[in-house]
């Protein structure tokens, strides 16, 4: 009977993404939605990313300041800038938000790691706005992103935590406590006065809005770590420099400079002092899995080019006719499947833990209030008030428990470092087997070799991610503590 037979799509899925294929039998609609996203990304690759990837990469070595706005405008058609924005706000994020993000990112990065990063970095910037429950800004910033996207104008965000003297240190509470922090947001009347620098911020030079975590007292970074919303155009804020990167060049890594920048109270996301949890750990718990997907995508791109190379006759014979090349292909295929298992395990698990935040009636009921009111100033100030924030916080804690966030951080960190190491090894081996004989495919694999290295570094180095896995899941000494409501000032 038909009911016992898998659908064609389910069968194909079972081959490509075993975890999703299995789920497809239980939740067709949801999984079809995810596959729709992947197909859209594949279309973008074919029409936009692949035709420009090599040339763009080369050009940005000669002209590091150049930025290809066209690829971002094109991305609007596919709504890639709404991936992390909840459906109730007009975005695409549903109960499979993290998984959707990861799948899209893998697909994009299979064409170009840099273009994939440029698109993903935006959602990373959106995430703290959501995770901190800063609803006061949803109707303005997120609404603007969605609406402008419909018109083909990319309004971009970025996420800034790294400082010149603190990279690993801002990713783990124990280290942050002893970090040498350079940037400070000093409390002044009506808000904060910010001085200092952030560095390596992906998309920082193009972003209109930046979510940033920073100390309000440099001598006590852990206790005073706070999440802010920075807007381009704030006086004294600039992005004076972008780096010349080894790879993933299509996305800029920018320095952010703050010279006496005033940030009003309304632009504190969550409470002062809650930055490590709502600004970093919860974000990392959601985003490290997708970074595993970036690595997987780059490796998959390399695999596909390697396969094409192997099928191409050279000197009258094809590499693929050799046993050793077939063995290598099988190894690579196994690694890709292992990686997909790792990042999907994390992201599906994460979605299961986090889905309440986007689908719970209590959450949705907040959007029954007409938008006219929700977008009004008085409503925003209500949400930004002491009680408003407290209420949102109670809701938030109801949706996400400390243990959930901690478990998710563990799996995310695992997926991140394991996928990145696997991908690095895969790409390096592909190139080693190809040798220097020129072929169109070798250029792509060389680019993948440069691109993939970054996945071992950002979103916490692979060493830091190993420590995070150890501390959360093996030793149990790191717990994500979601801050409680109604606390005034720094804890």
């Amino acid at each position: 009977m038909a009911a016992t037979v898998m659908s064609e799509r389910g069968r194909k899925l079972l081959r490509d993404f075993p975890a999703l294929g299995a789920l497809h039998e239980h939740d067709r609609k949801g999984i079809e939605g995810l596959i729709g996203l992947v197909e859209r990304a594949a279309e973008y690759n074919r029409d936009v990313a692949l035709p420009r990837a090599l040339e763009l990469d080369e050009r940005m070595e000669r002209e590091p300041d150049y930025f290809d706005w066209e690829m971002m405008r094109e991305a609007c058609k596919y709504r890639f800038f709404s991936l992390a924005i909840p459906e109730v706000l007009g975005g695409l994020a549903n109960k499979y938000m993290v998984t959707g993000m990861a799948l899209v990112v893998e697909e994009l990065c299979s064409a170009c790691g840099g273009i994939g990063l440029a698109i993903a970095a935006h959602s990373l910037g959106v995430a703290p706005l959501i995770a901190s429950g800063a609803m006061a800004h949803w109707e303005t910033v997120l609404h603007e992103i969605v609406e402008e996207e419909k018109k083909g104008n990319p309004v971009l965000m970025a996420y800034a935590i790294t400082e010149p003297s603190a990279g690993t240190d801002v990713e783990e509470p124990e280290f942050l406590a002893v970090a040498r922090i350079g940037l400070e947001a000093k409390r002044v009347k009506g808000g904060y006065r910010v001085n200092g620098r952030k560095c390596f911020i992906s998309g920082g030079s193009e972003a209109k809005y930046i979510t940033m975590t920073a100390a309000t007292d440099r001598s006590r970074p852990l206790e005073t770590w706070t999440t802010f919303l920075v807007e381009r155009g704030m006086e004294g804020f600039s992005t004076p420099r972008v780096e010349l990167k080894m790879g993933q060049r299509a996305c800029h890594a920018a320095e952010l400079l703050f010279e006496d920048v005033f940030i009003p109270h309304s632009h504190v996301l969550g409470y002062e002092g809650d930055g490590i949890a709502n600004g970093i750990l919860i974000i990392m718990a959601a985003s490290r899995g997708p970074v595993g997907a970036i690595a997987t995508g780059i490796a998959r791109g390399a695999f596909e080019h390697f396969l094409a190379w192997a099928r191409e006759p050279a000197n009258g014979k094809k590499p693929i006719d050799e046993d050793r090349i077939r063995m290598a292909l099988a190894d690579m295929y196994a690694v890709l499947e292992e990686n997909r298992g790792l990042y999907l395990g994390h992201s599906l698990g994460g979605d299961a833990l986090f889905r309440n935040a986007f689908t719970h009636p209590l959450f949705l009921s907040a959007f029954m209030i007409p938008r006219r009111i929700r977008a009004s100033k008085p409503y925003a100030s209500l949400l930004n008030s002491y009680y408003g924030k407290g209420l949102v916080n109670i809701l938030f804690r109801y949706f996400i428990k400390d243990e959930d966030a901690t478990d998710m951080l563990a799996k995310a960190s695992l997926a991140k470092f394991a996928c990145a190491d696997n991908a690095m090894a895969l790409v390096s081996r592909a190139l080693e087997l190809m040798g220097t004989t020129p072929s169109p495919q070798r250029r792509w694999v060389e680019k993948a070799y440069r691109d993939v290295k970054l996945t071992q570094i950002y979103e916490g180095t692979n060493q830091l991610n190993r420590l995070a896995l150890y501390n959360t899941e093996i030793a149990g000494t790191l717990k994500v503590e979601i801050p409680g409501p109604f606390k005034k000032g720094v804890r």
């Binding site: 990167k245 220097t436 250029r443 070799y449 570094i457």
Partner: protein, 351 residues
């Protein structure tokens, strides 16, 4: 003070090591970034001209033929030191000398093209298909260092078991050279593809196992270059690890960083011994082994070196990512490591 353990060498090698090291530090280090980003032919040529003061432009040509007369190990010592600053220039010198090798070993009429003249860097058209028919050369060589901008090319026809060689001027009729559009690394060694259709040779050289000699020189030279890259990675990463603080201490105090650095140190030790050992043998197998091992080590050392530098390692300014690219090409030329591995067994079987 951090230092490498003393590597026991005769006086002559130590002197050569010192002078090659100061050439590299004085001439190459200040322009290492340009040699990677904009390796214009004039820039490379100028650097090579300076290397001639060490006899590096005719290193393997015997003194009685007007060359520098270095033995294999001395040549490797110099290459290692040069590669500590700029592996691309070291490989340009290696390819150039390998191109002169047939003339240095064999018999021919007239002058050795390239020795004592302003004609460098020479290109060794290897590996590829090369045929000599009725005194004319036909060739298809997909990838060779120094191809782009060389004055002449040395080729070893495949049909005669590699016992003959020819040189062809790059401006001779029938020669076409296409520069590699966007090489990953070793950019100062300006790689490219060569094609010849009925090109007129300027030297015909015969005698001995030219192919074997040239291959051996490449494997030995590249294993020395790989050691140079590992040393560069170690030196840079060690210095950085003592400057950078994270988690309240110098990152060199984090054990994983120490393990990365120690691996590099082991790579230098092992790499030098392997190179030295294989220089003392006339056989190909030890050279192949040294090449496989050292270049794999160099790729790992460079990758770990970038990792120790964190985000900074990924950026051009720190000169670390260049090592990852350079090391990878050392591992991919003149053959792939797996083909080289199979070759070892072939040698074992056929004696």
């Amino acid at each position: 003070m951090a230092r490498l353990p003393e590597f026991r060498e005769e006086q002559e090698y130590r002197i050569l090591r010192d002078s090659a090291a100061s050439f590299a530090a004085d001439v190459l280090a200040p322009q290492a970034e340009e040699l990677d980003l904009q390796p214009a032919p004039w820039r490379v040529k100028k650097a090579l001209a300076k290397a001639d003061e060490l006899g590096m432009l005719s290193a393997l040509v015997p003194e009685e033929k007007g060359g520098g007369g270095l033995d294999d190990y001395a040549f490797c010592v110099a290459l290692e030191e040069i590669a500590v600053e700029e592996a691309g220039v070291a490989v340009a010198l290696l390819a150039h000398n390998a191109a002169l090798l047939p003339a240095a070993l064999g018999e021919f009429e007239g002058l050795i093209t390239g020795v004592g003249e302003e004609s460098y860097p020479a290109c060794l058209a290897f590996p590829g298909e090369v045929a000599l028919r009725e005194g004319k050369v036909n060739a298809r060589v997909p990838f060779a260092f120094n191809a782009d901008g060389c004055p002449f090319i040395t080729l070893i026809p495949t049909q005669e078991a590699g016992t003959r060689a020819v040189t062809v001027r790059s401006d001779a009729a029938g020669v076409s050279i296409e520069a590699e559009a966007y090489p990953l690394g070793l950019r100062a060694a300006r790689p490219g593809a060569l094609k010849m259709e009925g090109a007129e040779p300027s030297n015909l050289i015969s005698g001995g196992d030219m192919l074997g000699a040239v291959e051996r020189a490449l494997f030995l030279g590249l294993s020395a270059v790989a050691v140079g890259i590992i040393r560069n990675a170690l030196r840079k990463a060690y210095a950085y690890a003592r400057e950078r603080y994270q988690a309240g201490k110098m990152i060199i105090e984090h054990q994983q960083m120490r393990i990365f650095l120690a691996e590099m140190l082991a790579g230098v030790e092992e790499g030098r011994s392997l190179t030295r050992e294989s220089c003392s043998s006339r056989e190909l197998a030890p050279a192949v082994t040294a090449w496989m091992r050292n270049t794999a080590r160099a790729v790992q050392a460079a990758t770990d070196g970038v990792q120790i530098h964190g985000g900074y390692g990924y950026m051009r300014d720190y000169g670390m990512e260049r090592l990852m690219r350079d090391a990878k090409y050392c591992q991919m030329y003149p053959t792939t490591s797996q083909e080289a591995l199979l070759r070892l067994l072939d040698i074992y079987e056929t004696g």
